[in-house]
Every structure is written in C-alpha cells, then in structure tokens.
C-alpha cells in the first residue's frame, strides 16, 4: 500500500465499490441508497400533505391517496429508518470506535447491502404494478383481499428483513470478538452500546417479521387460512405477529439515534458523560422491555382487559430507561462548555422533540385514553415526534458530526445551522396541529375530512414545506461536503473516541497500528 492513500483512494473504479468488502465503503453505499429512499419517501409525504390542504379532493382520488400513504409509510419505515443509522453510520464507525480493522464478516456485510437493494427493488416494483393500498402495516383481512400488489411489496419487505438480521448478527460478533486490546465492554463508546442493543432486537424480532410476512404471502397465494376467519383462522393473530416485530422495531430505529446523541452531547459540551453505565445499560433495558409491549397496539382489537392492563404497565416501564438517558444528557450539559455547532443543534432538537414524543407515548399507553386517541392524528403526531424528532434528528446530528471524518471535508457551518433551525420549526408546525386535531377526533389515514379540521391541516401542510426545505438544505450541505470543502483535520471537534485518532478520511485499515485502550471514553476533565 502506497503512503498517503485513504479508503477512498485505496482502489478505483465502479467495480472497486460494488465489490468492496471495506466496512467504510459499504457504509457509504448504504448512505447513497438510504438518501435516495429518503427523497422518495419524503416526496410521497409531501404529496399527502399537499392533498390534505383541502377537506375535499384536490388532485388525487381516494384510491391514489391510499397508495401514496402506504408508500410513504413503507418506504420510510423499511427502507429509511430501519437501515438508516445502523447500516450507514454503524457500519462506518462501529469497527473504528472499538479499534477494529473491519466488521467480523465483511462479505456478509456486502451481501446485506445487496439484499436491501434487492428487497427495495421488489418493493419499488409494486409501484409499477399499480401500488398497494393497505397501509404500511398490511393488516389482515384487508391485505388478504386487496387486489393490489401486496404480495410483491411484502416479498420486498421480507428480503429487506434479512438484510437487517445479517447486519445485526455482524455487529454482535464484531463487538464480542474484535475489540482492540484494553477496549472492555465498559470502555466502549455509547454509540457502540446502542448498536449492540439494537442488534439484539434485530436478531430476535426480525425473524418473527419474516415468518409473519411469509404467512401473509402464503395466505394470499395458497389460502392457508391462518388469518381467515371463514375457515377458523384469526385476523387479529396477524396484528399480534406483526407488532411482536414492529414494536421492538421502533427501538431498532431509535436506539442508535440515542447512541449518537450521547456522543454529540459529550463532545460539544466538553464534559465527561454523566452516568456512563446507566446510559449503556438503559439501551439494553429498552431493547429487552421492548419485546413485551406489543399489545398496546391492540387495546381496541378485542384483547382481554387483563392483557391490556399488563401491556399498559410494561409500556409505561419503557419510559424509565428512556428518561434515564434524557436526564443524564441534561446532566452532562450542565456547566459544560457548550458549542452550538450543527450536530449539537440537531442533538438538542432531538432532546426537545423526543421528550414530547415520549411523553405522548405515555398518554397512548393508558388504555382509557387510547380508546379515544386510537387511530387518530394524535398517534400520527406521536409516531412522527419519535421517528422524525427522534430518529432523523439523531441521524442528522450523526451525519454532520461524522461527515468530516467520512469525506475529509468540513461542511458549511452556516447552511448546516440553517437546516437545523428550518427542520425544527417546520417539524413543530407540521405536527403540533396534528396532536390537537387528533385529540379532537380527526382519524388517521382519511383522504376526505370534516371541514372543521381544515385550519389544522393547512398549518400542517405549510409546516411540511418548511421541513422539506430544511432537509433539502441539509442534504445539499452534506452532499457538497462529501465532494469538496475545507480540508478536515483528524479531530475537528476535539472528540475523545477512537475515530478521531485516525486521519480524515481514515486509511484502508483504519489505524496505522492497532490502538491500545487504557481508559474510559469521554475523559475531558
């Protein structure tokens, strides 16, 4: 290897990217894919909001509206927020942060990317076949009867599930077997802990999604009867199966984001993390408790009241480890030397928005309140506060934080900050009205609605344009920093974790020689 090359210049040509086994390049492949899916999913989201400007039809028929709504949900959930942070930033930084040269199984890692691409292509094929109108949850019995391309999109989601399982498997083995000398579990950066907790869910929950989707396909193709009441099956069983995966899956999405927030808060407050152990283990606690809360999606599906009460209590319990994190981050910032660079702005947005998302989750966990709020815009707003306010804010914080390391160029700080402010304002404009109209009875997924909700919908739609603009500015800023900009030093933020000890961008093997770790991360004082 000649001196002075990095992972980007190590080898050249399209083939060197499509067949790369380097975790850093695979991370960038994922970044390209996820950014593209995000544009598609975001476009569908903006279309929905545009149509909802008026209580009556503007430019979409109800059939088209249902399909656009399904695509927005499916693309964003299965193709953006699930692979988003672990596959992009996790792939790139997990090995570096534990002092390894790569993930444990590089070929499996590349295979995971191709599986995501294959699954996504099949899912996109369903659009060409006329679209799907079931909603991203594919509830039976409607998904069994719908004449649309349900089988196609579900096959796509099934394949993407394997991509997620294999990534999780790779990360667990990497963390167990490839830590550098002296890098004990309790010395790992908190982002690695959050990826570890995420990987547990990916491995334990995703196979259940696989069998659920397989059964739905078998139901449509062979009529096996599991979810068909006319032959003695039970449509609600699908809801149980689906949420046994899909509830833990929201922790697949949020945990890595929380990991990023821990990194960013420390670095930009110049403070040792407050309560390292509590934050690390609360990630694992969230992933474990998260398996026993799925019934809160079925409070009005004929589940027994006892089961409902148990699920309600367990759901509220998830709030405890989550609050532990928020309190510890706040305590970390206390008397810190805070710098409001773009990553920190996004991290603080996360804390504010996720707090609202988390607290409204407690409302929904209360059975009596949920009967009123179930299937209303309140749920939509709660979900977006956790997924956009949580996952996307963390993802953006992480991208701005690490882009100098990934590309070797600094991003434009001014435009980064503008994007953070725009997204924050636009997001609240879009979703606060949804909380209000939801609590007043506006049902979710409706194309035509009662005119008394029109003013809330108009405010929400205008807000969606501001978010759209904010994310566009952010994406352009990041894209430009990928290619050009001021050269980034090895450690632009004064971070203390291992990725800042190697060059920007890192060399092919990450480190000149394997680092030896002698203490905990975040030793600022």
């Amino acid at each position: 290897m000649s001196a002075g090359t990095n992972y980007l210049t190590h080898s050249k040509g399209l083939k060197s990217w499509l067949f790369t086994l380097d975790h850093k390049r695979i991370g960038l492949l994922y970044l390209g894919a996820v950014a593209t899916f995000f544009l598609v999913g975001g476009f569908f989201g903006l279309l929905i909001r545009l149509e909802l400007l008026s209580p009556t039809k503007i430019f979409m028929s109800s059939d088209v509206y249902n399909r656009v709504m399904t695509l927005h949900g499916s693309v964003m959930v299965f193709m953006v927020v699930i692979p988003g942070i672990p596959a992009v930033l996790g792939n790139f930084f997990l090995p570096i942060m534990i002092g390894a040269k790569d993930v444990a199984f590089p070929r499996l890692n590349l295979l995971s990317w191709y599986l995501l691409m294959l699954g996504a292509s099949i899912a996109v094929l369903s659009i060409l076949l006329g679209g799907v109108d079931t909603g991203w949850t594919f509830y039976t019995p409607y998904s069994m009867k719908s004449a649309d391309a349900v089988t196609t999109i579900v096959t796509g989601a099934f394949i993407m599930g394997f991509s997620s399982i294999l990534t999780g498997l790779n990360f667990i083995v990497t963390i167990h077997k490839l830590r550098a000398p002296g890098m004990t579990m309790m010395r790992m950066p908190l982002f690695c802990w959050s990826l570890y907790a995420t990987a547990i869910i990916q491995i334990v929950a995703t196979p259940v999604l696989a069998i659920t989707l397989l059964l739905l396909i078998a139901e449509r193709v062979f009529g096996i009867g599991f979810f068909d009441a006319s032959v003695g099956g039970d449509p609600v069983l699908f809801q149980h199966f689906f949420w046994f995966y899909s509830h833990p899956a929201v922790y697949i999405m949020i945990l890595p984001s929380m990991g990023i927030i821990s990194e960013v808060i420390c670095t930009f407050s110049r403070k040792t993390i407050f309560g390292y152990k509590a934050i690390a283990l609360s990630s694992v606690a969230i992933s474990l408790i998260g398996f026993f809360v799925w019934g809160h999606h079925l409070f009005v599906s004929g589940q027994s009241e006892l089961a409902g009460a148990i699920f309600a209590i367990l759901t509220v319990l998830v709030g405890v480890p989550t609050a532990i994190k928020l309190f510890n981050w706040t305590a970390t910032m206390y008397q810190g030397s805070i710098k409001l660079d773009t990553p920190m702005l996004y991290a603080m947005s996360f804390m504010a928005l996720f707090l609202i998302g988390g607290l409204t989750g407690i409302f929904l966990a209360a059975m009596a309140v949920d009967v009123q709020l179930h299937d209303t815009y309140f749920v939509v707003a709660h979900f977006h506060y956790t997924m956009v306010g949580g996952v996307f804010m963390g993802m953006m914080a992480g991208l701005f934080y690490w882009i100098p390391k990934m590309s070797g160029h600094m991003y434009n700080e001014f435009w980064g900050r503008v994007s953070a402010v725009l997204v924050f304002i636009g997001f609240n404009m879009t979703f606060i009205p949804q909380f209000i109209m939801g609590s007043r009875g506006m049902p979710r997924r409706y194309h035509l609605y009662d005119p008394k909700f029109a003013s809330f919908h108009i405010a929400s739609t205008i807000g969606s344009w501001v978010i759209g603009l904010g994310f566009l500015v952010a994406m352009i800023t990041i894209f430009k920093a990928m290619r050009s900009g001021k050269a980034a030093p090895a450690n632009p933020w004064g971070g203390t974790t291992l990725e800042w000890t190697t060059s920007s961008p890192p060399i092919h093997e990450n480190f000149e020689e394997t680092p030896v770790i002698t203490g905990r991360p975040y030793e600022y004082n």
Binding site: A100, F105, V208, F222, I224
Partner: protein, 215 residues
C-alpha cells in the same frame, strides 16, 4: 497487509489477529444465525399452540389423516443423517477427509430419502383434497380441518425448504473437500453446516409428534 502466519501456515483474514479469533467469530456467528432460525419457526409453533387451543378436537381428528408410519420412517432417516453429519465433522477434525466426504454423501442420501417420502405424502394429501385452509376439499370433513392442513403444509414445507438448502450446502462442502480446503486446522464451514443440519433435524423432531402423534 499485516497478517500473521501461525505455525500451521494458515493465514487469518486481514481483519483478524489470529486464526483462533477468526474461528471464534465464525462459530458465534453461526450460533446467532441458528437462534434466528429457531425464532422464525417459533412463530409457527405459536400459531400451532393458539389454534390447537382453539380447536383441540379438530386437531385430534385431523392428525388421523397423516401417515404415522411414513412420518416415523422420516424421523429415523433424519436421526441417522444427524449421526452421519456429526461423524463427518469429527472425521474432518481428525484429518480423514475421504471418510468425511463419504459421510456427507450418506447425509445427502438421507436427505433425499426424506424428500422422496415427503413427496409421496404430499401428493397423497393433494389427491385426497386435504389442501390448506380455504382450498380444503376433502369430502365429508369439517372445513376447519383446512386450518390444520394449513399448519401442516406451512410447517413441513418450510422445513423441507431448509432440508433442500442443507443439501445445497453439503454439495458445496463436497466440492471444497475435493479441493483440499479443510484440515484439522481449518474446518469452520464443515462445523457450521453440521450445526445447521442438526437444527433442521431438531425442528423435525418437534414437528413429528405435534402433527402426527396427537390423534
């Protein structure tokens, strides 16, 4: 590349420090993968438990339509195949690759016998109109029986897919053995396929009594 040769001349992949570390990682990966297999079938076993709880008499009645003798034969065949597979792994570890080759051939033969028996069972069911769920058309029987056959075909069908994949993996092992890839110092793939084969067998050990022997 900073790779270190150990005394046996086996070189670990570039991101591992030693062959032992690489082996550890491989074995842990395989066990995690097997856990996902158990969880995937776990969903089906849950469905089985729920429907059997709902219709205990129907399950009792429906299992009489299955051929216990053929099921028992297949169980014996798979247990024998597990033994030959375990012996194949042992032979590879001891360096007797020819013996290992033959034992894997025997395992493949067992798998093919299993699939042949399954073929005759399935065609017989189709002939009788014992289709899954909505397509159930056996004359004079309760239509809920279709739910049992939905479970039967999905559970044994997914299992049969795993057997087929196993045959493919074993053929791959045969090719690699012929190429001289394995030695007492490097045999992770044989070990891994062996573990996979055992889990597929164990799943059948649960399927057989739950489907065939409850009548």
């Amino acid at each position: 590349m900073s790779t270190t040769n150990n005394e046996k001349g086996i070189v670990p992949a570039h991101h591992f420090d030693s062959v032992a570390q690489e082996e550890d990682a491989g074995i842990q990966g395989i066990w995690l993968f097997l856990a996902t297999e158990v969880l995937m079938f776990g969903g089906l076993f849950v469905a089985y438990a729920i429907f059997r709880g709902m219709y205990p008499e129907m399950f009792h009645h429906a299992s009489k339509y299955l051929d216990t003798k053929l099921g028992a034969l297949n169980t014996l065949v798979l247990i024998a195949s597990s033994y030959s597979m375990a012996s194949a792994v042992r032979s590879t570890q001891k360096g007797d690759t020819q013996k290992s080759f033959n034992l894997i051939l025997i395992t493949i033969a067992c798998a093919l016998i299993f699939m042949t028996v399954k073929y005759f069972e399935y065609t017989h069911k189709f002939h009788e109109g014992l289709f899954p769920g909505a397509n159930f058309s056996h004359p004079g029987a309760d239509k809920h029986l279709g739910l049992f056959f939905g479970l039967y075909f999905v559970m044994t069908g997914l299992h049969a897919i795993h057997i087929t994949v196993g045959v493919g993996l074993m053929v791959w092992l045969l090719i690699r053995i012929k190429r001289g890839d394995f030695s007492p110092h490097y045999f992770i793939p044989v070990d891994a396929v062996g573990l996979y084969w055992h889990i597929v067998d164990i799943i059948w050990i649960f399927l057989f009594p739950l489907l065939y022997l409850i009548g």
